[in-house]
C-alpha cells in the first residue's frame, strides 16, 4: 500500500466562500487523499507555515473575493523564502479567476488553476497524477522542515508496511529532560481540540519563549483519505512557536496511528518545551498511551456521558492524571462532576478533577488546568 497523498487546502484571508473547497475536500478524501484543511479566512503566512509543518505535497487554494493574483503569489513567495519551493500551489475560484489571471499566476509560480465548469473527477484525477509520484526531495533547509520531513518518512514507512530505520530516530535517550509530554484523550464531542487550543493560548502567554509541538489525530480507514480539520478550529495554535502535525489513524483502532509512537518519540527529542498529543475521540475502554514518553495524561469528558454505570467501564478514569469535565455550562454538569468524583475515589491514586467551559473566553477552569500543566518551576525558561 502506497502512502496517501497529503494536500493542504484553505481559503484566503477575508474570504468565506468555502462551499467549493468543502465539496472538493470531500471528493479528494473519497479518492484516498489526506486533506489537511486549514479553513476559510486564512493569512498566507498561516497557510505556508501549516503546509511546511504538515509536509504536504501541495497547497490547494480556493479564492473568490478577489485579489487572487497577489494572494497566490504571496503564498509562493513565502514558500520560497522558507526554502519549501517543492511544495506546489494550485487552486481555483470559479469564474473570478480568468485565463489572463492564470497566465500571470503561473508566471509567478502557481502550478494550475481550475476554472469554472471543471468536473470533480477531472480535478481529482489531475491531483492524483500530478502529486501522486513521490518526488526526490531535499531533507529540508530549516530545522522545522527537517523535522516535518522526518515525520513524513516515519508515517510513510508504516504505510508501506515497514518499520522505519532505527537511525531515523535518535533514540539515545528516550527523550530530552526538559520536554514535558502531555496526552489528551476523551470521547468525541468532548471539546478536546478547543481545550488544547485554549491551553496553547495560555502557555504561549505564560512562557514567552516556550516552543510547543502538537500531534493531533483524526480517524481514517486503510486505503482511504481523511479530513484533518483540527487546524481550522485551532486559531491560537497558528503561531511560529507552535509546531503542529495532523495525522490520520490509517486504519488503526484506539485513537492513534501506527506511526504515532515513533513520531511522538521524535518530537519529544526535538527540543520542544511541551509536546501535546491528542487522540481521536474513541471509546475509553483502554489507555491509548502505552509508552513511557507521556508525562501526564488528561481525560476530557462531556457531561452527557449517559448512565452512571458506563462510568465503571471507562478505564481511563483509573489511569488519567487529570480528569476534565468540559462543557460544564450544560445542565448535567453538576451531576457529572459528583458522579465522577465518586468514581475517582475508587482508583486509589491522586487524581485531579477540573470543570471547564473551553469555548468561553478566559475561562477560569482552563486557567486552573493550565496551572496543573506547568513544568517544574526551576526548569522553566526565563
Amino acid at each position: 500500500m502506497a502512502a496517501p497523498i497529503r494536500i493542504l487546502t484553505a481559503v484566503p484571508i477575508c474570504d468565506g466562500h468555502d462551499s467549493a473547497i468543502n465539496t472538493i475536500n470531500l471528493e479528494f478524501i473519497r479518492h484516498g487523499i489526506e486533506v489537511v484543511y486549514l479553513g476559510y479566512h486564512r493569512y498566507a503566512e498561516d497557510i505556508v507555515r501549516a503546509a511546511i509543518q504538515e509536509d504536504v505535497r501541495a497547497i490547494g487554494i480556493s479564492s473568490y473575493n478577489g485579489g487572487h493574483v497577489e494572494f497566490f503569489a504571496e503564498v509562493v513567495r513565502q514558500l520560497k523564502k522558507r526554502g519549501a519551493n517543492d511544495i506546489k500551489v494550485f487552486g481555483g475560484g470559479g469564474g473570478t479567476i480568468t485565463h489572463d489571471d492564470q497566465r500571470v499566476m503561473q508566471k509567478r509560480g502557481v502550478d494550475k488553476i481550475f476554472f469554472a465548469g471543471t468536473s470533480l473527477t477531472d480535478m481529482t484525477q489531475w491531483v492524483r497524477d500530478r502529486y501522486g509520484k513521490v518526488p526526490k526531495r531535499s531533507g529540508g533547509k530549516t530545522p522545522e522542515m527537517r523535522l516535518a520531513r522526518k515525520l513524513t518518512e516515519i508515517e510513510d514507512s508504516y504505510a508501506n508496511g515497514k518499520r522505519p530505520k532505527k537511525k531515523k530516530i535518535e533514540n539515545r535517550k528516550s527523550k530530552i529532560e526538559n520536554t514535558k509530554v502531555i496526552g489528551f484523550t476523551g470521547p468525541g464531542g468532548a471539546g478536546k481540540t478547543t481545550l488544547i487550543d485554549e491551553l496553547i493560548l495560555r502557555l504561549l502567554h505564560r512562557e514567552p519563549k516556550a516552543r510547543i509541538a502538537i500531534l493531533s489525530h483524526d480517524p481514517s480507514v486503510v486505503g482511504e483519505g481523511a479530513l484533518l480539520g483540527d487546524r481550522a478550529t485551532m486559531i491560537n495554535s497558528q503561531d511560529d512557536r507552535v509546531f503542529m502535525r495532523s495525522m490520520a489513524t490509517r486504519g488503526q483502532a484506539g485513537g492513534l496511528s501506527p506511526a504515532t509512537e515513533d513520531c511522538l518519540r521524535l518530537l519529544a527529542q526535538s527540543g520542544f518545551d511541551y509536546v501535546i498529543i491528542e487522540t481521536v475521540g474513541t471509546g475509553q475502554e483502554a489507555m491509548p498511551f502505552q509508552n513511557k514518553l507521556v508525562d501526564q495524561t488528561v481525560l476530557v469528558m462531556n457531561p452527557d456521558y449517559g448512565a452512571r454505570l458506563q462510568l465503571q467501564k471507562i478505564v481511563m478514569l483509573d489511569l488519567a492524571d487529570i480528569v476534565v469535565v468540559n462543557k460544564s455550562d450544560l445542565d448535567r454538569a453538576k451531576t457529572a462532576m459528583s458522579e465522577i468524583e465518586r468514581r475517582l475515589e475508587g482508583s486509589g491514586r491522586e487524581q485531579k478533577l477540573i470543570s471547564t467551559v473551553a469555548k468561553r473566553h478566559r475561562d477560569r477552569g482552563v486557567d486552573e488546568l493550565c496551572d496543573l500543566l506547568g513544568r517544574e518551576p526551576e526548569k522553566k525558561k526565563k
Binding site: 478577489g66 494572494f71 473570478t96 476554472f115 469554472a116 465548469g117 479530513l227
Partner: protein
C-alpha cells in the same frame, strides 16, 4: 420543549383546525351559510380594473368554488392576500398598479383620450408606492459605490440602496492591516470609518421617507450600524435618528451555518446583536435591525427545503431571544424581516409562500403575536449559484425565470443578478439589463400588475406547497431533537447538512442527472471563458483607502483611546454596549473597535 417545538405543534394543530372547519362547514348548516355569505361579500367587493388593451379584469382572482367546505379550506388554509395565514401575500395589493376608475372607463370607452387620462392618474398614484427593485451593489472605495448608487437610483422614485461590503470590512478588519492589501474594495465597498460612511451615502437625504439603506453585513454589524448612525448625525443632526429607514443583515446564525463571517464567539455576537436590536427598536422605529437570511444557506448549496427550514427556525430562535429580553412579540415582530434565495428547483414554485404561512402561524400561536408581527416580509435574490460561466448570456434567461418565481411568491422586494455574476462585480452593461429585467416583468408585462393571485393556487403549486411544508416541519423536528437551534448549530448540524447537499449538487451536475445548459447539455461550441469587463479595484485606489484611514487614525488617536477604554469597560458588564459603540464610532476605525471587543470577548472559533 423549545419554542421551535411549540411552532411545530402550532402548525400541526392549525392544519388539523382547517380540516375540522372544512368538515364543520359541510355539516353545520349555520356555519356553512355564514361562509357562503362571507364569500359572496368578498366577491362583491372586488374592484374591476382594465388592461391597456381594454380587457376588464378583477383586481383579485379567487378559486371558482361555491361549496362551504372548500370556501373554509381556502379562507382559513390559504387566506386572502394580506390575511392570515398569508400564504398568498403579506399585503392585499402587492404589485398592482393603482386602480383606474371603471366609471371613467365606461364613459370614455376604448378611446385614445380615456386611455391617456387614466394613464396619467396611474402615474400620479404610482409615485406614492415604492418599487420592489433593490439592487445589491458595492465596489471600490466609498466614492465609487456612491456613484453607482446614484446611477442605479437615477430613474427610481424611491431610493432603496443595498450595500455590499468588501472582504476586510465584512471581517471587521481595517484596510491598513497586514495581509489584506489586494482585497480592498473587491466584491464590495471598503468602509473603515464614519468618514467613509459619509462618502458612501453622500448626496442622498438619509432621513427622507423615500430613502432607505440596506447593509449586508453581519459579523461586525453593530459597529457598522453605529457608524451609519454617526454619519447620518454628522450630516443631518441628531433629529435624523428616528427617521432612519433601512435594514442591516446582522444574522449571526446563518453566518455560522453558511456565510462564515462571524468575528466574535457566538454568544458574544448574539449579545452585541441583542444590544443593537434593543436600541434600534426603541430609537429607530423604522429600522429593521436583523434580516433573517436563507440566501446564503441556499447559495452555500443547501436544498430549498433546508434553506427555508433553517431560516425559519433561526427566525424563531431570534424571536425567542428577544422575548427572553422582555420585549413583546408585537414590539419586536414587526422589526424582523427575511431574505430568501430563489433558484430554478421546483420547490421555488412555493417556497416563500409556505414560509410566510409557517411564520404567521408560529408567531401567532407560539408567540402570541398580533397581525403586524405575524407578517413575513421578505426580500428575494435570484440565485447566483445557478449562474454559470459557460455561455454566460444564458444567465439572463435563468434570472428571468427566477424573477418570475420570486414575484409569483409575492416577494416584497427583489434583487436580480447580472449575467456576469460568475466573473465579477457587475459592470454597468449587465447591471442595467438586470434592472430592466425586473421592470419588464412588473411594468411592461401584464403578469403582475392587474390581478392579485394571477398565478397562485394551481394544482401543481398546491402539491408543491404540501410537500414543502411537510419537509420543513420534518427538518424542524430534527433540530428540536438536537436540542434546538443553538445546540444544533454547535453540533454542526446545519453546516454538515448544507455541505452534503452542496456536494450532491455538484456531483449531479457532473453525472448528468442535473442538466445545466452549455455545461453538461448542448455544450458544443460553448466558449469556456468569455471575455467580460472586469470590475476591479486598482492598487492606487486601494492605497488611497489605506492613506485615508491612516490619516483618520492619526487625527483621532487621543480620543479613540478613551472611547475604546469606555467601550471595553461596558462590554465587561451586562449593560447595553450600543451607546458606547455609538460614541466610539465617531472617532475609531472598524478594526480598532472589533479588535478591542475581541480582547474582551474573544475571537470566533471557526467550524469546519
Amino acid at each position: 420543549m423549545s419554542k421551535l417545538g411549540r411552532v411545530i405543534e402550532a402548525v400541526e394543530k392549525y392544519n388539523q383546525h382547517v380540516l375540522d372547519e372544512v368538515k364543520r362547514a359541510r355539516t353545520e348548516k349555520r356555519f356553512g351559510k355564514q361562509l357562503l355569505d362571507r364569500w359572496d361579500e368578498i366577491k362583491r367587493n372586488i374592484k374591476v380594473g382594465r388592461a391597456p388593451t381594454g380587457l376588464e379584469l378583477p383586481r383579485l382572482a379567487l378559486p371558482e368554488i361555491d361549496e362551504p367546505g372548500e370556501i373554509a379550506r381556502y379562507l382559513l388554509g390559504d387566506g386572502l392576500p394580506g390575511e392570515f395565514p398569508f400564504l398568498n401575500g403579506a399585503y392585499k395589493e402587492m404589485y398592482l398598479e393603482p386602480l383606474q376608475e371603471t366609471g371613467s372607463y365606461a364613459k370614455n370607452g376604448h378611446g385614445k383620450n380615456g386611455h391617456g387620462k387614466n394613464g396619467e392618474t396611474a402615474v400620479a398614484k404610482l409615485q406614492e408606492t415604492e418599487e420592489p427593485t433593490r439592487l445589491f451593489s458595492g465596489m471600490g472605495l466609498p466614492d465609487d459605490t456612491n456613484k453607482r448608487f446614484h446611477y442605479l437610483g437615477a430613474h427610481q422614485r424611491s431610493k432603496r440602496l443595498s450595500t455590499a461590503f468588501d472582504g476586510p470590512t465584512l471581517y471587521g478588519i481595517d484596510s491598513d492591516a497586514d495581509g489584506v492589501f489586494g482585497k480592498i474594495g473587491e466584491g464590495g465597498v471598503a468602509v473603515d470609518t464614519v468618514e467613509d460612511m459619509e462618502r458612501l451615502y453622500a448626496g442622498f437625504d438619509m432621513g427622507a421617507p423615500s430613502f432607505s439603506a440596506s447593509m449586508t453585513i453581519s459579523g461586525p454589524a453593530p459597529i457598522i450600524m453605529a457608524m451609519y448612525i454617526a454619519a447620518a448625525k454628522r450630516r443631518f443632526g441628531d433629529s435624523v435618528v428616528p427617521k432612519l429607514r433601512g435594514t442591516i443583515q446582522a444574522d449571526i446564525f446563518k453566518e455560522v451555518q453558511a456565510q462564515n463571517e462571524t468575528i466574535f464567539p457566538v454568544e458574544a455576537s448574539l449579545r452585541f446583536l441583542g444590544d443593537m436590536m434593543e436600541w434600534t427598536t426603541r430609537n429607530m422605529p423604522r429600522w429593521y435591525p436583523v434580516s433573517i437570511s436563507g440566501y446564503h444557506i441556499g447559495e452555500a448549496g443547501s436544498t430549498p427545503v433546508q434553506q427555508a427550514a433553517y431560516t425559519l427556525s433561526n427566525g424563531f430562535a431570534y424571536a425567542e431571544m428577544m422575548a427572553n429580553c422582555g420585549m413583546s412579540a408585537d414590539e419586536f415582530g414587526p422589526r424582523l424581516s427575511f431574505f430568501l434565495d430563489c433558484g430554478l428547483d421546483v420547490e421555488y414554485i412555493a417556497l416563500t409562500r409556505v414560509s410566510r404561512r409557517i411564520w404567521a402561524i408560529g408567531m401567532r400561536d407560539a408567540f402570541g403575536a398580533g397581525a403586524r408581527a405575524q407578517m413575513f416580509k421578505v426580500h428575494t435574490q435570484t440565485s447566483g449559484r445557478s449562474l454559470i460561466a459557460a455561455e454566460f448570456r444564458n444567465n439572463l434567461t435563468r434570472t428571468a425565470a427566477e424573477l418570475m418565481l420570486a414575484y409569483m411568491n409575492g416577494t416584497n422586494s427583489c434583487h436580480s443578478n447580472s449575467a456576469d455574476e460568475p466573473f465579477t462585480t457587475p459592470s454597468e452593461e449587465w447591471i442595467r439589463l438586470s434592472a430592466h429585467g425586473q421592470a419588464i416583468l412588473l411594468d411592461e408585462s401584464g403578469i403582475f400588475k392587474h390581478t392579485m393571485n394571477m398565478l397562485s393556487g394551481s394544482p401543481g403549486m398546491k402539491a408543491v406547497e404540501r410537500a414543502v411544508e411537510a419537509a420543513i416541519l420534518e427538518e424542524f423536528r430534527e433540530i428540536e431533537r438536537l436540542g434546538g437551534v443553538l445546540a444544533a448549530v454547535e453540533n454542526r448540524y446545519q453546516r454538515s447538512q448544507i455541505q452534503n447537499a452542496a456536494h450532491r449538487y455538484e456531483q449531479q451536475i457532473y453525472d448528468g442527472t442535473r442538466p445545466i445548459i452549455a455545461l453538461n447539455k448542448y455544450r458544443d461550441g460553448a466558449e469556456e471563458m468569455p471575455e467580460v469587463e472586469l470590475v476591479r479595484t486598482s492598487r492606487a485606489k486601494q492605497q488611497l483607502q489605506v492613506d485615508r484611514l491612516k490619516k483618520f487614525k492619526k487625527k483621532n488617536a487621543a480620543k479613540a483611546g478613551k472611547a475604546l477604554d469606555k467601550l471595553a469597560a461596558v462590554a465587561e458588564t451586562n449593560e447595553n454596549c450600543f451607546p458606547a459603540l455609538l460614541e466610539a464610532a465617531e472617532v475609531c476605525s472598524l478594526g480598532q473597535i472589533s479588535g478591542r471587543l475581541q480582547e474582551v470577548v474573544g475571537r470566533f472559533r471557526p467550524m469546519v
